[in-house]
Symmetry: C2
DNA sequence: CTAAGGCAGTTTACCGGTAACGTAGCCAAG
DNA sequence: CTTGGCTACGTTACCGGTAAACTGCCTTAG
């Protein structure tokens, strides 16, 4: 009769001889019952292996669900792994469940994911970047739940934004390299079609160089995933065209390490013959034979702050709309 | 009256002058309505920005939800990022939503996560490893949903298993190194308390060495996260005790790369003075100055197969309980 | 001409939990 | 003795969607 593990409130109510409302109150830790009733209910729930049905709870009430969605551009990037970790730690602690998604840098895929997730009536969502389809924006406005845009800062967020300016990252590197005496800079990138954030870094980089009077000499942007091989072959291609470059800024650290490998193999001395600069601050970059010059992004912190902003808004606490996270240009031995 | 974005089936029904059951059938692509009715309903749903309520749908019916949970030991590991990617791609394509969790290699945290997730009545879950608390196992049995244990193979899975033997990975490396003439092997690991899988690799490694007559000389296992620094300092500590080692097997590639960095810095020639072997097959390892000898694990494939096994079981298709995924020992230039 | 069957729907009941409200019993103050 | 308030519950209605059963109406076969 006491079917293990499939009991619902009513079953427990029957067994303990109270109403299911009382069971509900006890199990959610409310009040309005005697200690004796509480003990009997809890014992029965335990014995019967009661598993609450959050579907029913969330479905019924205006009370927010404990579901939070997060969509990142790529799941295989080490950086986003840390972001996810920051989000997950912060939210798990508070009793939320995290639904993930990946948009491959495509706003359309983000919208498709959003439509699925919103149909679960989540408490809020975290998105990456600030490019969204009109449909996605409308959906979010109608849903009326907290939204945090992370990674790429925007001054006019849908709701809240936690991140930094990719453009400024590029500017900072450009200025740094000019100060270090570099005059003929190149850029090697890779974008799976629509990575506007990598694009922004390059634009900032280029703008800073123009301003300093030493404009970007050449660039090579591959239509490939931004990994080690793309860095290796991208640098090879670029140097074949312009052997006179004295520094190359890469889309990210993985690619920069690929570039380093190419230099090593061709006997190009780094940083004497050629400077190499990455972006992102992946751990590997700081233990390489030559410590990579790169911009360190506090990934876990971004995830944590995003989660906290979302929860604060849910609780009705005051939250600032835009949280700026400082990145750090770390001069290594390659730039 | 047509409140944008908050319409439900009944609102659409009223506007189009049919019953909500008809609207439900139309929107789910069923049958039993005229083309004209269908067009009117779809137009109204579109106009009113109808967002289906999966909470209600999943709640009501025996029909499975489209939620799948996956729990990994660490979110910051590049390997699990690829596993997640494989799972996500496979499931998204089929209309499922993915809930993530992270157990930090602790079965207790896995159980806590499971209790949360099961309360959402998911269609199935994917777990990492084969160590689970009794409470978790009971919960899963009672829930009666598909369960896939990935990463570490088990011959008696709770339900299904997709992975490989960590022990065998260690054995293979041990045999390989003995064949290459190594005689005095060491091991450098790091375990945040309860990483039984890394432990299994070391045991297999050790067993193979014993069998060959050249038992493991010494090992250094740090209580730290298995990253580059742990590899660096682990090797330093180990070599301080046993400078006569001729090869060191590392917990994973990150640590092996840290070890390589240490050798580079101390002028230890690799592989002449000391062999370095990693595990995992992270991309960086194949483009380093010296290509790392390591075991490549088809991470994305594991995620994909796990997702497919789960869905097959949901559809009632025949599925084999245990799927063995082949790992590949790739001799590089360091071992 | 009538029964059978198909089409295009409608109606009803229900899923499990929760908010809101109702009520019985008890005690103390007026 | 009555009233009012408190405690400890019980009752009812409802959330949004879906399965299953039901209802006219029209066509077609016998």
């Amino acid at each position: 009769m006491e079917r293990k593990g499939k009991a619902n409130l009513e079953d427990i109510a029957k067994v303990t001889g109270v109403s299911k409302m009382t069971v509900s109150r006890v199990l959610r830790g409310g009040q309005g019952f005697s200690d004796e009733t509480r003990d009997r209910v809890i014992a029965a729930a335990d014995r019967m292996g009661y598993v609450p049905n959050r579907l029913a709870a969330a479905f019924n009430s205006v009370q927010a669900s404990t579901l939070v969605g997060i969509c990142v551009p790529r799941l295989t990037s080490g950086l986003f792994g840390h972001v996810l970790d920051g989000v997950d730690r912060a939210l798990t602690r508070l009793g939320y469940q995290v639904m993930i998604g990946c948009n491959n840098h495509q706003p359309l895929e983000e919208e498709a994911w959003l439509r699925q997730v919103v149909s679960w009536r989540p408490a809020g969502v975290i998105l990456s970047g600030r490019s969204h389809t009109p449909g996605a924006v409308e959906l979010l406005h109608n849903a009326g739940m907290p939204v945090v845009e992370i990674w790429d800062l925007t001054t006019s967020p849908i709701d809240m934004s936690v991140g930094f300016s990719h453009y400024d990252c590029g500017v900072e590197v450009g200025q740094f390299l000019v100060r270090k005496g570099r005059r003929r800079a190149g850029y090697v990138g890779a974008s799976s079609r629509a990575d506007v954030m990598g694009q922004a870094r390059m634009e900032g980089f280029s703008a800073a160089l123009v301003l300093a009077g030493y404009p970007l000499v050449d660039r090579e942007v591959l239509l490939d995933s931004p990994g080690f091989y793309a860095g290796y072959y991208g640098l090879e291609t670029l140097l074949a065209r312009r052997p006179d470059l004295d520094v190359v800024y890469f889309h990210n650290d993985e690619m920069a390490i690929g570039g380093l490998a190419y230099c090593q193999q061709r006997g190009i001395r780094v940083p004497e013959d050629l400077g190499i600069v990455g972006w992102g601050g992946m751990e590997a970059a700081s233990v390489l034979p030559r410590r990579l010059t790169t911009t360190v992004v506090p990934t876990t912190l971004i995830g944590k702050q995003a989660a906290e902003a979302l929860v604060a808004r849910l609780k009705g606490e005051p939250v600032q709309d835009v949280t700026v996270i400082a990145t750090r240009l770390v001069p290594g031995e390659t730039g």
